[in-house]
C-alpha cells in the first residue's frame, strides 16, 4: 500500500514533466522573435554564412524534426547549445549558476522557515497580547515590502554606511584564496545581505500562515482535552497543535521551493548574484531558446519534485492522506 502510494505519485510526476516539456518546446517556437537575427549580427553575412549558422544551431530543420532531436538528446543529457553564450552547452551554462542559486535560496529558505514558524507560533500562542501585535505587524510589513527596495536600503545601510558587507557578487573578484576556509568566509560575507533580503519577505509570509492555522487548531476539541489532561501550555502547543498546523506550511514551503529557483531575479539583480533568475532574464531578452528551455525544464522539475516531496511529507505527517489514496 505504502509503496504503491509512492510509486503512483512518482509516475504522475514523470507524466507531468513530460507534458510540460512538450508544451514548453512548442511554446517557445510560437513566441515572437527570430534567434537567427540575434546570432547573425554580421554586417557582411553572406547567404552561405547564414545557412552555416542555421545548420550550426539546427535551425534549418523543420520544427517537428527539431523536436525529436531535442527529446533524443535530452535523454543523453544534452540540452543543446546556448545562442547567447555562443556555442557553450546549455547544461554547462545552467550548471555554473545552480550552485549559487541553491546556496542563496537554500540559506534564505532555511532561515525564513525557522524564523517564520517561530514567530508564527509565538504570535498564535500569545494571541491578543502585545507580543502578538508586534510580531503580526512585523510580519505584515515584511511581507508587503518590495524586495527591490529592501535590497537597496540594505546596501545603503550595511555597505555604504557601515561597510560591513560587500555590495555585490558572490566572491571578492580576483582574490586568490589560500584555503578553502578563506573562500567560504568570503562567500558567506557576500551571501549575508541577499539572504537577509530574501528571507525577510518569506518570514512574513510563513509567520502569517503559521499564526492563522495555529490559531484555528488551538480552538479544536483535542486541544481542550489536552489541557484538561493537565499538560502545560508549551507542551500542548509543541506536541498537539504545531504538528497539525504544519500541513498548510508544507504546501506553502513546497510551492516556494519550486518557484524561488526561478523567482529571485530582483535580488540577483540588486546584488549581482550569479543565479538562475538573471540567466533566465538574459535568455528571454536574447531569444536564447535552448537556454530558456533548459531553465524552464529545471524549474518545472524542481516545482514537480517539491510537490512530490510535499505529497510524501503529507503522507508522513497525516496518515489519513495515505490511506485515502
Amino acid at each position: 500500500m505504502n509503496r504503491q502510494y509512492v510509486l503512483k505519485k512518482i509516475i504522475y510526476s514523470l507524466i507531468t514533466i513530460f507534458a510540460v516539456l512538450v508544451f514548453n518546446y512548442f511554446l517557445f517556437r510560437v513566441m515572437p522573435g527570430n534567434p537567427l537575427q540575434i546570432l547573425m549580427r554580421n554586417p557582411n553575412a553572406s547567404a552561405e554564412a547564414i545557412e552555416k549558422t542555421k545548420e550550426l544551431f539546427g535551425l534549418n530543420k523543420p520544427a517537428h524534426i527539431q523536436f525529436f532531436i531535442y527529446i533524443k538528446s535530452l535523454f543523453q543529457g544534452d540540452l543543446g547549445t546556448s545562442f547567447l553564450y555562443k556555442g557553450q552547452p546549455v547544461t554547462e551554462v545552467i550548471g555554473s549558476r545552480i550552485l549559487p542559486t541553491l546556496l542563496m535560496i537554500g540559506a534564505a529558505e532555511i532561515l525564513a522557515i525557522i524564523t517564520g514558524i517561530f514567530i508564527g507560533v509565538i504570535s498564535a500562542w500569545k494571541r491578543g497580547t502585545k507580543i502578538d501585535i508586534i510580531s503580526l505587524s512585523f510580519s505584515l510589513i515584511s511581507y508587503s515590502m518590495p524586495t527591490f527596495w529592501i535590497g537597496i536600503v540594505f546596501v545603503t545601510i550595511f555597505c555604504v554606511q557601515f561597510r560591513i558587507f560587500p555590495t555585490s557578487g558572490m566572491m571578492t573578484p580576483g582574490l586568490s584564496y589560500s584555503s578553502f576556509m578563506g573562500k567560504s568566509l568570503d562567500v558567506i560575507k557576500h551571501l549575508t545581505l541577499p539572504v537577509l533580503t530574501m528571507s525577510l519577505v518569506l518570514i512574513g509570509q510563513y509567520a502569517l500562515v503559521m499564526r492563522s492555522t495555529l490559531v484555528d487548531v488551538l480552538t479544536e476539541d483535542y486541544i481542550t482535552t489536552a489541557h484538561a489532561k493537565g499538560f502545560k501550555e508549551d507542551y500542548v502547543i509543541k506536541k498537539h497543535a504545531v504538528p497539525n498546523a504544519m500541513l498548510p506550511m508544507v504546501t506553502l514551503i513546497a510551492i516556494n521551493l519550486g518557484l524561488v529557483i526561478a523567482g529571485a531575479i530582483q535580488i540577483e539583480t540588486i546584488f549581482s548574484w550569479p543565479g538562475i533568475g538573471r540567466l533566465m532574464y538574459d535568455a528571454i531578452k536574447n531569444r536564447d531558446y535552448p537556454l530558456l528551455q533548459g531553465i524552464f525544464l529545471l524549474v518545472t522539475i524542481s516545482v514537480i519534485i517539491a510537490n512530490l516531496l510535499a505529497d510524501l511529507t503529507y503522507g508522513y505527517l497525516d496518515p489519513r492522506v495515505k490511506s485515502r489514496s
Binding site: L84, K86, I152, I164, M171, G174, S176, S272
Partner: protein, 607 residues
C-alpha cells in the same frame, strides 16, 4: 567566609555537571570564534598586488573574437591580443604588432613589418604566418565583428618570418583602421574550420599586454600583466572587470572604494560622485548616437504606414522635436543635440548649415500645411487628402528607461504639429523582429560608431536592407558614394564625399539623429595615478585605446592611503567577525533556552 566561596564554586561545578549540553555549547562557541577569526585573517592576506577593479554593466558574450559581438569583447580582445595597427591617444594609427608599414604607389599593396620581439603568452614568437592565418580565417568565414573591416582584401601573404603583404583590388582607405586581433596559428590549426565556428576559446593565448587569467560568468573577468610585452610591461599587476547587474549599486561600490572605476553609470549619479574628493567622474564624448528611425520601405509587403514615405512628414517631425529640452530632462544635459550620422569630434562629421532643423513648431506646421496635410475634422490630428490620419505607431525599447522617457516627450512635442504618435514599449527581441519583417512605423534606438566612417555609413545602404539597415532606406546615389569613399586615399577628398553622403541623408531624413549621448565614467584618484582622457573630452575606457590600462599606476604619493585601505579592510573584517560571533552567541543562547524548555517539558511528560 572561605566556606561560602567554596560553596559557590561547588554550586557552579554542580550546575555545569548537571547540564552537559551547556558545556558543549560553550565549547562550540569558543571553537567557532577561533575558527572564524582565523578565516578572517586568511582572506585579507592576499591584498598586495595592484589590481584595478572596473565596474561594468555589460558582460563579454564570448572569449572568441570570431563569435563575440559586444563592445566589452572588443575592449578585452584589445588587451589580450594585438592588432597589426593600434590607435594612439590622438586616435591616429600607431604601431601595434606591425612596427612599420608602407603602401605601394598604386595604393593596392600594403607591406607590414612585424615587431621582432613580439611573443605569444606561451613563449612562441609571433610570425607573419599567424597574421596570414587569422586574416584569412576571418575573411573567408565572414564571422564576427572584425570581418567587416577586412572587406575587399584579395590576398594575404607571408613573405618571410616578419613581413606580411596584403593586396586589395581597389584602394582601401580604411586599412589602418581595422583592429582585427591576430590569433596564434599554432593553436588555431589544431582545430578544423568548422570547430572554429563554435570554438569557446576558454583560455585565450594572445600576444597583448595582458594575459587572460579567469572568467567567472556573471561575476568577473580577470587579466594579469604580461611581463614580457614587447612594448613594455603595464604599470599595474591585474585588471578585473566586475559585472554589476544594477548600475545604482555599482555607483555605490565606487563611492566606498570597493571598485576603482565605473563605466556607464546613470547620469543622475554624476553630481553625487563628483562630490567625493577621491573620485573623478566625467561625462565622456563617445562615438555614437541615439536616433529616431522611420520605416522608409517602398516594398509592397512592408507593413509600415505609407504616409511616412513622404519626407515632408519626417522633416516636420524633426522640426517639432525639442531635442535640447529632452537632452536636459532625460540625460541631465550629458551630451549634445544630434544632427547627422557621423558624430561631432570625428574628422568626417558634417554639420548642417542653412538646412539645420532646430526646434520650431511653426516651421513644422507650415511644412505640413504646404504639403497638403490639413486637420479637416478638427480633432487635432491632420489628415491627407484621402482622409488618412497622421497617426503613427511609435515603438520604444523597455531596456532603456531613458529612451522611453524621451519617446514620451517626443510624442507630446509632435502632437502640437497635429501628428499623433501611439507609443508601444517592447523588448529588444520583439523590436528586432518588427524591423526585419518591416512591421513598424518608427522607433528609437542607438548606434555606436567606429573610427572608420564606412561602418556607420554602410548601415544606410540598400544592400543592408534585411540585414543591418533598420530603416529600409534606399538611395542609388548614396550607395554609389559609399563605394567611392572607401577607395579615396586622400583624407580631404574622402571627407568631401562623406559630407555629401551625410547631406543626402539629412535631407531625406530616414533617421532623425536625436542625441549624441555621453558615456559616464568615474575613477578613483586616491588609489591610482595617471588617468588620461582619450581624446581630450573622451573617457578613460572604451575609447579604442589601451592608454589607461598601460599607464595607470598605484598611487605612491599616498602610500599611507594605500596602507590605509588594508587597515580599513581589516577593520571591516573584524567588525563583521564581531557580528558573526554575536550571531553565533545569540544562536547558542536561543538553543540553550530551547533545550532547557525541552528538558522541562520532558520532565513534565514524565509527571
Amino acid at each position: 567566609m572561605p566556606q561560602r566561596n567554596d560553596r559557590v564554586q561547588d554550586i557552579l561545578i554542580l550546575k555545569m555537571e548537571g547540564n552537559p549540553m551547556k558545556k558543549k555549547i560553550v565549547v562550540f562557541v569558543l571553537f567557532s570564534v577561533m575558527l572564524i577569526s582565523c578565516f578572517t585573517n586568511v582572506s585579507f592576506a592576499a591584498e598586495e598586488v595592484s589590481s584595478l577593479r572596473i565596474g561594468v554593466t555589460q558582460e563579454i558574450d564570448s572569449l572568441s573574437p570570431f563569435l563575440s559581438w559586444s563592445i566589452s569583447g572588443d575592449e578585452i580582445f584589445m588587451l589580450i591580443y594585438d592588432s597589426l595597427v593600434r590607435v594612439d591617444e590622438n586616435l591616429e594609427p600607431s604601431p601595434g604588432l606591425a612596427e612599420s608599414w608602407k603602401l605601394s604607389d598604386d595604393n593596392l599593396t600594403w607591406t607590414f613589418v612585424l615587431n621582432d620581439n613580439a611573443k605569444w603568452h606561451d613563449g612562441k614568437p609571433v610570425t607573419a604566418e599567424d597574421v596570414k592565418y587569422s586574416y584569412e580565417y576571418i575573411i573567408s568565414s565572414g564571422l564576427g565583428m572584425y570581418a567587416g573591416g577586412l572587406e575587399d582584401i584579395s590576398s594575404v601573404e607571408a613573405v618571410d618570418e616578419k613581413t606580411v603583404v596584403i593586396k586589395t583590388n581597389e584602394p582601401k582607405a580604411n586599412m589602418l583602421m581595422s583592429n582585427a586581433p591576430i590569433l596564434p596559428k599554432h593553436i588555431l590549426e589544431t582545430l578544423t574550420i568548422e570547430e572554429l565556428e563554435t570554438w569557446p576559446n576558454d583560455s585565450p593565448v594572445g600576444s597583448g599586454p595582458f594575459k587572460f587569467e579567469e572568467l567567472n560568468v556573471g561575476g568577473f573577468l580577470k587579466l594579469v600583466k604580461n611581463e614580457d610585452y614587447f612594448k613594455g610591461s603595464p604599470n599595474l599587476d591585474e585588471i578585473i572587470f566586475v559585472v554589476y547587474a544594477n548600475s545604482d549599486v555599482m555607483t555605490q561600490a565606487l563611492k566606498i572604494g570597493e571598485i576603482d572605476a565605473v563605466v556607464n553609470f546613470s547620469a543622475s549619479h554624476l553630481e553625487e560622485l563628483n562630490s567625493v574628493p577621491e573620485i573623478e567622474a566625467v561625462s565622456a564624448v563617445v562615438q555614437g548616437f541615439t536616433e529616431l528611425s522611420f520605416n522608409c520601405s517602398k516594398d509592397l509587403d512592408s507593413k509600415g504606414n505609407k504616409l511616412l514615405l513622404d519626407k515632408n512628414i519626417r522633416q516636420a517631425i524633426e522640426w517639432a522635436i525639442d531635442k535640447q529640452n529632452i537632452m536636459d530632462v532625460v540625460y541631465y544635459s550629458q551630451g549634445e543635440v544630434g544632427t547627422t550620422l557621423v558624430p561631432p569630434g570625428d574628422y568626417y562629421h558634417y554639420e548642417p548649415a542653412d538646412e539645420l532643423r532646430s526646434f520650431n513648431i511653426e516651421k513644422a506646421n507650415e511644412l505640413l500645411e504646404e504639403a497638403g496635410y490639413k486637420d479637416i475634422d478638427q480633432d487635432g490630428i491632420r489628415e491627407d487628402i484621402n482622409g488618412n490620419k497622421l497617426s503613427f505607431l511609435f515603438t520604444l525599447r523597455s531596456e532603456t528607461p531613458e529612451e522611453v522617457k524621451a519617446g514620451q516627450m517626443i510624442a507630446a512635442n509632435v502632437e502640437k504639429a497635429g501628428i499623433e504618435l501611439k507609443i508601444e514599449t517592447v523588448d529588444d527581441g520583439v523590436l528586432i523582429d518588427k524591423v526585419y519583417s518591416q512591421d513598424f512605423d518608427m522607433f528609437i534606438w542607438g548606434w555606436g560608431t567606429a573610427l572608420d566612417p564606412t561602418v556607420i555609413l554602410n548601415v544606410m545602404s540598400t544592400k543592408e536592407i534585411g540585414n543591418l539597415s533598420d530603416c529600409n532606406y534606399s538611395n542609388e546615389e548614396y550607395d554609389g558614394l559609399l563605394l567611392e569613399q572607401q577607395t579615396i586615399m586622400d583624407e580631404t577628398e574622402r571627407r568631401k564625399v562623406v559630407w555629401e553622403m551625410q547631406k543626402i541623408l539629412y535631407d531625406d531624413a530616414p533617421y532623425i539623429i536625436l542625441f549624441y549621448d555621453n558615456s559616464l565614467q568615474g575613477v578613483r584618484t586616491d588609489k591610482w595615478d595617471g588617468w588620461t582622457r582619450v581624446p581630450e573630452d573622451g573617457g578613460y575606457f572604451f575609447n579604442l585605446t589601451y592608454t589607461n590600462y598601460m599607464n595607470v599606476k598605484p598611487n605612491i604619493q599616498t602610500a599611507d592611503a594605500v596602507s590605509d585601505s588594508p587597515q580599513e579592510q581589516e577593520k571591516s573584517g573584524s567588525s563583521s567577525t564581531a557580528l558573526i560571533v554575536a550571531a553565533v552567541l545569540l544562536l547558542a543562547v536561543v538553543s540553550a533556552v530551547l533545550i532547557k524548555r525541552k528538558k522541562n517539558s520532558t520532565e513534565d511528560d514524565d509527571e
